[in-house]
Subunit: 475 residues, 2 copies
């Protein structure tokens, strides 16, 4: 074996190892202070600055996230993770949502981050594919139980954590994701660190150090998609950010240019970056305003089809036996990803546009319960599924679909879905979010408790003690 | 701001998000099973397979590592990290070396990983710049206290953990490091995961999952060098690997191709890789045989100078007042990194080849104590320091130096250092390692306890309970 030497190409200097002398041209002046510019804004930003619409959207994001975390709380991956950490966990400081167990803040954050992503049913920034809440909200809930936090501070820290992670993601999209990083994991620690830093009241220098400590702990290879490790990513990112903020609070030092330095986060994880995405328009535009929520517990690419089927079903009181055949006009990506004609398990059902159309007609919804193994094998559904045909229509966007249903009585029903429900242009209504929450909490929390929890989330900014949310979310 | 969409370039498929259909040609067949080939060897490898020389080198690595961990155990960075994690730490399961505090295994591993790297005085693989023991040994010690582990199993797991991390590092050296990754952090979790997996007795599938979970948690940007965060890297890598193995033990799933998959570790962290470095010669060559130990508590680049100065000092009973001037012939990199003519602090002293030569003459050693602020300002030393001159000699390698000392009595002493002490070609003797250990433990552990600990490390493979090492290393 012929080893290539690293020492020969760069240099180890010892007790403190030094970076190689900079050979490339220095970055333009405005790139030198990306981390500090962002941090200065974050430290100063107050709840009172937040527009009404942003506060409302934060409550919607919180409500949606708590619902999916409670709903996912008994998934096999969560059970394994809990059994793994329990023997070395610390004091019972924070709730594991949807469960009776309490853990120390650091381990609670891992578990809640995992729970909230196991169904991939949490909120999404559609441009970067970041799931903004999953690394941020677990940290806020744990700290809110651990140190008393007002509802206003909670919402402000949530908005700012999401602001930081989404802006940093925008700066490297799509290059970073194309390189193989799972964005939720690789930027998540920034969101968690910033949210925690706000609640801890860190000054600019310490928040910069927290961001540096977050930068040095990116999580998440896209290779892990399809295994339990995918939902581990936001959980670990949440822990990484929380630990970063707690270390920085006590004076642990890091870089003040963790994002933009020559060997900082952006250069190491991505070949391209646009730092204006991080530093421009701070305080005038809020990333959370573009957050989206999924109505259906499957891939976004089949959402337009399900949406159209449910609309026609409800408007015409359709049942499967009335239908001769269904013709779908779909974006090309739909068949690339969900072309399974004969799914046999719930998971396979998520990758079948044929099943998706059928379940929309038969049940009129497509929550997690509609992707059970039993449901996928239901003869009424499989009978209808086999009467679904697809045709690729390159003129459609990814959130569009055409649904044409020919009835046995010769009538033809058609629907063009211009923007699927759950897209930024056609967001889920408050009522739909409430129904999704109630569905997810059902069977895990008693109905009365679920209603109370829902109300706490909607009114989070008015709480004297935001820890009430975490306590009400425990089984 | 004009956002570039990730969703447009790749695809989010939902409940399980799927990787983009592979556009590039599939990798050659032999690249498909790198992780499994490595794992198959690691699972089967037994202590009885280890050559005598490898077992001896493992004991030397262990001894050196325990010494530096004890020595670093009261560094400011360790104090901050301990104060940070203490409030949420779990049961007192494992020792924090050099201290009286005990923590749960996961937090003990973080602290011991940090302690062992704060002086940058731990062992080094000189080709990859990986510090092999720092992410591995903390995990072994914690598990040895937590579940009884024989000395033979301990040494075997240590050798194999180091084998895995160094081989994986070789496969991407120097590209990964040049991209900005701190190799000890970015490969450390592999070493920790493999070492833990061996002690936990994981089968091939579970060890593959552990390696996948390690792959998805690389730590460490080189930007952090010069701050406390550098020594955080091996500590966090150790935790990442331990958690990976514990999750995999209980059935948490990940990829079986974590290293070599299209969006796996090697492709995401490095633009080039040579998988033969990982899979060839398993069981016939051992990476630990190339491990090196630093005799001096500063950058490797000044080691040849210090070595030559100490040799001439000891052979000629030199004192500073005998010396007219010192002329050093040095590799070009020495002045790039250590050209500080007038260091004022201990840390600055590590970056001054002038101080390094002077301290070698005046004290005859260059341990951590010789890089105190007081020592750097000592007038005898600064006087001699100002009589040191340097000349770059491009014919020298990095472990070579020429030292020429002109005495006031007109005599001229010369020494060509062909391989500095501590290099692979000229390793530290057992006696020198013992002395380094004793120096580092001095003032932290009572002399008798330090001697006992030293003996436990040297004879680790004969221990019925390797946890004795951790217990003897606690203050």
């Amino acid at each position: 074996m012929n080893r290539r030497s690293f020492i020969g190409s760069t240099v180890i200097a010892g007790a403190v190892t030094i970076a190689q002398p900079v050979a490339a041209a220095p970055p333009p002046a405005e790139e030198k202070h990306v981390t500090q510019t962002l941090t200065r804004y974050l430290v100063a930003a107050k709840f009172e600055d937040l527009p009404e619409a942003i506060r409302t959207e934060a409550a919607r994001s919180l409500l949606n996230w708590v619902g999916v975390a409670v709903g996912g709380s008994h998934h096999e991956g969560v059970e394994i993770a809990l059994a793994t950490v329990a023997p070395f966990a610390g004091p019972a400081q924070a709730a594991v949502l949807g469960r009776k167990e309490r853990l120390d803040i650091m381990n609670a954050v891992l578990l809640n981050g995992i729970s909230s992503h196991v169904f991939d049913f949490d909120d999404t920034d559609l441009t970067t594919a970041v799931h903004p809440s999953a690394p941020v909200v677990p940290v806020l809930l744990a700290l809110a139980e651990y140190r008393k936090v007002s509802g206003q501070d909670f919402i402000n820290a949530m908005v700012l954590g999401i602001e930081a992670e989404c802006r940093i993601a925008h700066a490297v999209t799509p290059t970073m994701q194309d390189a193989g990083w799972h964005a939720t994991g690789s930027v998540g620690a920034f969101g968690a660190a910033v949210a925690a830093s706000k609640l801890l009241g860190l000054d600019e220098t310490r928040m910069c150090h927290a961001i540096g400590l977050a930068a040095t702990q990116p999580v998440g290879l896209r290779e892990m998609f399809g295994s339990m490790t995918k939902s581990f990513h936001p959980g670990r990112a949440a822990q990484n950010g929380l630990l970063a903020a707690l270390l920085a609070e006590k004076g642990y030092t890091s870089s003040l240019q963790g994002i933009e330095a020559r060997r900082g986060w952006a250069n190491v994880l991505s070949t391209k970056h646009d730092y204006a995405m991080i530093t421009e328009g701070l305080g005038s535009h809020y990333e959370i305003s573009r957050n989206s929520y999924k109505p259906f517990a499957c891939g976004l690419v089949v959402h337009p089809v399900i949406d159209g089927c449910i609309q026609l079903r409800n408007e015409n009181n359709l049942t499967a036996d009335m239908i001769d055949r269904i013709d779908l006009g779909i974006h090309p990506i739909v068949l690339e990803l969900t072309s399974n004609r004969t799914p046999r398990t719930g998971l396979e059902g998520k990758f079948s546009v044929y099943y998706a159309a059928a379940i929309g007609i038969v049940v009129g919804r497509a929550g997690e319960a509609q992707f059970s193994d039993a449901q996928v094998r239901d003869p009424v559904v499989t009978g209808l599924r086999d009467r679904v045909e697809t045709a690729v229509d390159p003129s459609l966007t990814q959130d569009q679909a055409r649904v044409k249903i020919r009835l046995k009585d010769r009538r033809v029903l058609e629907r063009f879905v211009e923007h699927a429900v759950g897209s930024v242009e056609n967001p889920m209504s408050d009522a739909a979010l409430d129904a999704k929450f109630t569905d997810l909490a059902s069977g895990i929390l008693p109905d009365g408790q679920a209603r109370k929890l829902l109300a706490l989330c909607r009114g989070a900014e008015r709480l004297a003690d935001a820890g009430d949310i975490a306590r009400a979310a425990a089984a």
